[in-house]
């Protein structure tokens, strides 16, 4: 039996009819067409499906859609402002932290949550925060560099007086 739910995704409310056993990842991808959320393993091992729920990174493949009601969900589609990339996204591009890109949405969202909590992380902090997100291409080095670069960029931006921005 389908249940009627309201999901708040990237600040938009969606009324949806979903089966109880359907994951948030599947609803995002197949009902809302937000295919930026990737599905790698479907069992919590790879982190490709990471989204933020009230700012906390979770694997959307192991969260039932009916259990995601009442949370503010942020997917990769909600990170850039229009065509202006978020500093974390910019750093991923500039440093070369993206190869096939399958892990990138999850990595970016996890990095966002980390920098929100800890704006000046050490390399070890970054590696720990990303330890549930697997990448088959980059060897992680550039991803870690990108997050550290983004942290520096964001702190610089913060420090600048308003007019100079």
């Amino acid at each position: 039996m389908k249940k009627l739910i309201t999901l708040s995704v990237n600040s938009l409310e969606h009324e949806l009819a979903v089966e109880a056993n359907v994951s948030l990842a599947d609803v995002l991808r197949y009902q809302l067409g937000l295919t930026g959320t990737k599905k790698g393993c479907g069992i919590g091992d790879c982190g490709a499906c990471t989204v933020l729920m009230d700012g906390v990174p979770v694997f959307s493949c192991l969260v039932l859609a009916v259990e995601a009601q009442g949370f503010d969900i942020l997917t990769i589609e909600g990170v850039a402002e229009g065509s202006e990339l978020h500093p974390v996204q910019k750093a991923f591009v500039e440093v070369g932290a993206i190869q096939c890109g399958f892990c990138t949405p999850g990595m970016v969202l996890n990095a966002l949550a980390l920098l929100d909590k800890n704006p000046d992380p050490s390399e070890a902090d970054v590696r720990l925060a990303l330890s549930g997100n697997l990448c088959r291409c980059t060897g992680y080095q550039k991803i870690v560099e990108a997050v550290l670069t983004a942290a520096k960029d964001m702190m610089k931006e913060e420090a600048q007086p308003e007019e100079a921005k």
């Binding site: 039996m1 249940k3 089966e19 109880a20 056993n21 359907v22 994951s23 599947d26 479907g42 069992i43 919590g44 091992d45 982190g47 990471t50 906390v56 990174p57 979770v58 694997f59 192991l62 969260v63 039932l64 009916v66 259990e67 996890n110 720990l128 925060a129 330890s131 549930g132 997100n133």
Partner: protein
């Protein structure tokens, strides 16, 4: 791989949750906490050798996911019930942790880090940040895996479980609760509401060490938790050692703990206790490590865990 069909019920009180569990028990009803175990376990295994997610269970005879031939028809979610998560300290020093408290909340609690260090250290090593953000203490305990990273320190810390059913509240010790891999004495209509950690005396310290093939997303080869209390003269007055991944349930190494009581702590004493603990477990060989290796590692990890607990007790 999709999740097999079931209905989700989302009660708003503990009483209602127990009633629903009782009402639907004949069709199969399971508690849904964070879902990080159950939403994986109810699927058909993809690669049998990868399962179960624990050392200690024999992959041939005790495959938990094979046992789940029929997924439950109902999932009773605890997420809407208020007051099931949170950490508080009673006047007598007992620390009570709601069953829906996530592993991340436990690891980030100053109170837990200071007074239940072994539990915080066990949590630090559980899965990955994504697992810890969803997985709960109640789920880790009720899932009853011999390697479970929050269960093993809970055994060493003498945790008491409050089980709530329609007509009754009962308190059982975590060691009595777990009877085998994935097996507990929980009745069909019972919900674990909170976990109570009895206050430790002054001059106590605890620690938990996990040996695994990788730092994240890995189940232990062996995990060990130790708790020590010193008396005024600096001798050991209380000791507990719990071993994970070396038997169908976490094991209290009672002989090893007894050998410490009344003694002055020393490296030699801890080394001997490690040897004794190694004799108290019967691990299996699987793809994570051989039985022989595990026994050897128990000896070393028990010594190291006791040393760390001692530093904190002083």
């Amino acid at each position: 791989m999709s999740i097999p069909p079931f209905e989700v019920l989302q009660p708003e009180s503990l009483q209602e949750a127990c009633e629903l569990l009782g009402k639907h028990s004949s069709e199969g009803a399971a508690v849904l906490a964070g879902g990080t175990d159950i939403l994986v376990d109810i699927r058909r295994p993809i690669i049998p050798e990868h399962l179960p997610r624990c050392s200690g269970c024999d992959p041939k005879t005790l495959m938990p996911r094979k046992a789940v031939e029929k997924p439950p028809a109902y999932m009773v979610a605890l997420s809407r019930i208020p007051d099931l998560s949170g950490i508080s300290e009673a006047k007598n020093g007992d620390i009570s942790i709601g069953s829906m408290t996530t592993i991340t909340q436990i690891c980030e609690s100053q109170l837990v880090r200071e007074k239940l260090t072994a539990l915080a250290e066990g949590g630090d090593n559980l899965g990955s940040p994504l697992v810890r953000n969803r997985g709960t203490l109640g789920g880790n305990i009720c899932n009853a895996r011999p390697a479970a990273d929050a269960l093993v320190p809970s055994v060493a810390l003498g945790a008491q479980l409050e089980l709530q059913s329609v007509n009754e509240t009962r308190i059982v010790s975590v060691s009595d609760f777990v009877t085998g891999p994935g097996r507990t004495i929980r009745k069909a209509d019972e919900v674990l509401s909170k976990v109570i950690f009895p206050a430790l005396p002054e001059m106590s310290g605890s620690s938990c060490i996990k040996l695994a093939n990788r730092k994240a997303l890995e189940i232990s080869v062996v995990n060990v938790a130790a708790v020590l209390t010193l008396d005024k003269a600096g001798k050991i007055s209380q000791a507990k050692v719990a071993l994970g991944s070396v038997a169908p349930t976490p094991v209290l190494a009672e002989k090893a703990a007894a050998s410490l009581i009344g003694e002055k702590p020393s490296d030699d004493l801890f080394k001997e206790a490690g040897k004794t603990a190694a004799g108290e477990c019967k691990p299996i060989t699987d793809h994570r490590g051989s039985a022989l290796y595990r026994v050897d590692m128990v000896g070393i990890l028990v010594k190291n865990a006791l040393q760390k607990a001692l530093e904190r007790a002083r």
